[in-house]
């Protein structure tokens, strides 16, 4: 699979990553080599079974109210907070 710089930039955008032009070249080479390797899966006969990737073990909890960590504790590790709120840059001018 051929990966060009535009495609790397597009994937980085989807992944919320900002890349320098040197990084784009670096990842272009690496992704091309890795995606070339994983294409060997084409050689495996595909079964008709549809795989969902969901775990076979899924236990459900009872729907009961439990105490949670609380707002004061929740913001304690925030890089920027105001009272019990997370602080973010202004969105509406």
């Amino acid at each position: 699979m051929q990966i060009d710089a535009h495609m790397v930039a597009q994937v980085a955008k989807l992944a919320h990553l900002k890349l320098s032009s040197e990084e784009i070249v670096y990842y272009q080479n690496h992704l091309e080599s890795i995606l070339g390797y994983v294409q060997q899966l084409d050689k495996m006969a595909q079964s008709q079974q549809v795989a969902t990737g969901e775990s076979e073990i899924q236990s459900e909890r009872e729907d009961v109210r439990r105490p949670s960590v609380g707002a004061e504790q929740a913001v304690i590790q925030a890089p920027d907070s105001s009272g019990t709120f997370f602080q973010v840059p202004r969105i509406i001018e």
Binding site: V11, Y27, L41, Q46, T52, G53, S55, S59, Q77, V88
Partner: protein
Amino acid sequence: MSSTKISSLSAKAIVSGLASRSFALDDVIATFVERTKKVCPALNSHVFFSEEVISKQVDALKKTSNPESYPLFGVPVLVKDNICTMDMPTTCGSKILAGYVPQYDATVISRLRNAGAVIFGKTNQDEFAMGSSNENSAYGPVKNPWDLERVPGGSSGGSAAAVAAELVPVALGSDTGGSIRQPASFCGVVGLKPTYGAVSRYGLVAYGSSLDCIGPITRSVEDAAMVFDVISGHDPKDATSLHSGSREIPNSEAMVSKKRIGVISELIGTGNDLDTTHSFKEAVLELKALGAVVEEVSLPEIEYSIAMYYLIATAEASSNLARFDGIRFGHRSSDPTQSLKELYLNSRSEGFGKEVKQRIMLGTFALSSGYYDAYYGKALNAREQLKSAVKRLFSQYDFLISPTSPTTAFKIGEKIADPLSMYLSDIGTIAANLAGIPAISIPCGMSESRLPIGLQIMAPWNQETSLLQLAGIYEKKLKWSERYKPNV
């Protein structure tokens, strides 16, 4: 007892020594604290170590009225830095979580504390558990205690190096594609990856959620079993947690007799180095001498396991690591003029390392519109076929074995520029994660250049008891850890 002797003791010997008053809790703690201060700088095995935090735990332990009822009373345990601890930072070896202290303990940590263990610090690792050499840590590479110019393996490299160097008798690691077993093999210690779901992942920072497992790294199989017994069991906080009972380990050699063991032929080929091939053949002879029926079996799907893994694990990682956005915790970019969107981009780009960005992008690509079916969907389908093939093999065999890794520990810097070559070093371990079966690595030999070699034993789902029995019997026969020790 001298401090040198205490540092060599197993967890079991420490518990019984304390119970019989052969030595005091303060002697044990002082021994391991002094040894850590002396050896740790050369290995770079720790990312957090605090005598104050240790003292607080010891003071609390001293107040307990019946120490004999605690199965790990006074045992120092190190913890990989992707497992949440509320009295120590949890950074995952990443800049993006520098200084982050969780508000809660992971379930495995609560269980260890309730069993009387002393959490002795946090170990260095590949960033977010992404790596096979421990060179991808934001806090520098870990060195292998057998040869300081070589890697300890990864991603639980700090845990394996610390146990091998007798800085603790027990450490916890996590294993998504071999991250407990491969470093255990490189460092000459025991590493157990349990059945998927046997040990709660509540409080483990997620990498590949359908693959991640927490397990013990120790210097004996018996200690691995003791720790597994404490940390395993159902946890309502983890929706993928299994119900399981207690496990005792009989030492009878008769258990091996007539057991059917399959050697995976695809993992004993030309890709292995000569020392590994030789030691593995010796291990097969030893198992036959114990009465097992050992024969080659074919698992052709395993040749595709790395391709499956690097699509499934990275797809899951790209989703799991989306939570690191610089808002709720972790690193935030400091530019005061940035918009909200720029804050996300800058915080993530400044905080994540090279390999993590690569895997996030690989996973994002595999899940993206137009490529999902051709990559991620195909990998899921292949994984189901691998699982079915493993199930078929276990209908004929009690265990499957292989070398844990195709080579011994490689030099620092040797593979870092070529990700594919690094990924290929995990060929022996990944299938157990994809299938969800338990697997253990135990030392089985030594290379000519005095580097440890590991034997991997895999068992059917939830068969940790028989897996640990076989590994324990083999270990007692070989007496590897009595013959070899690193010079650190």
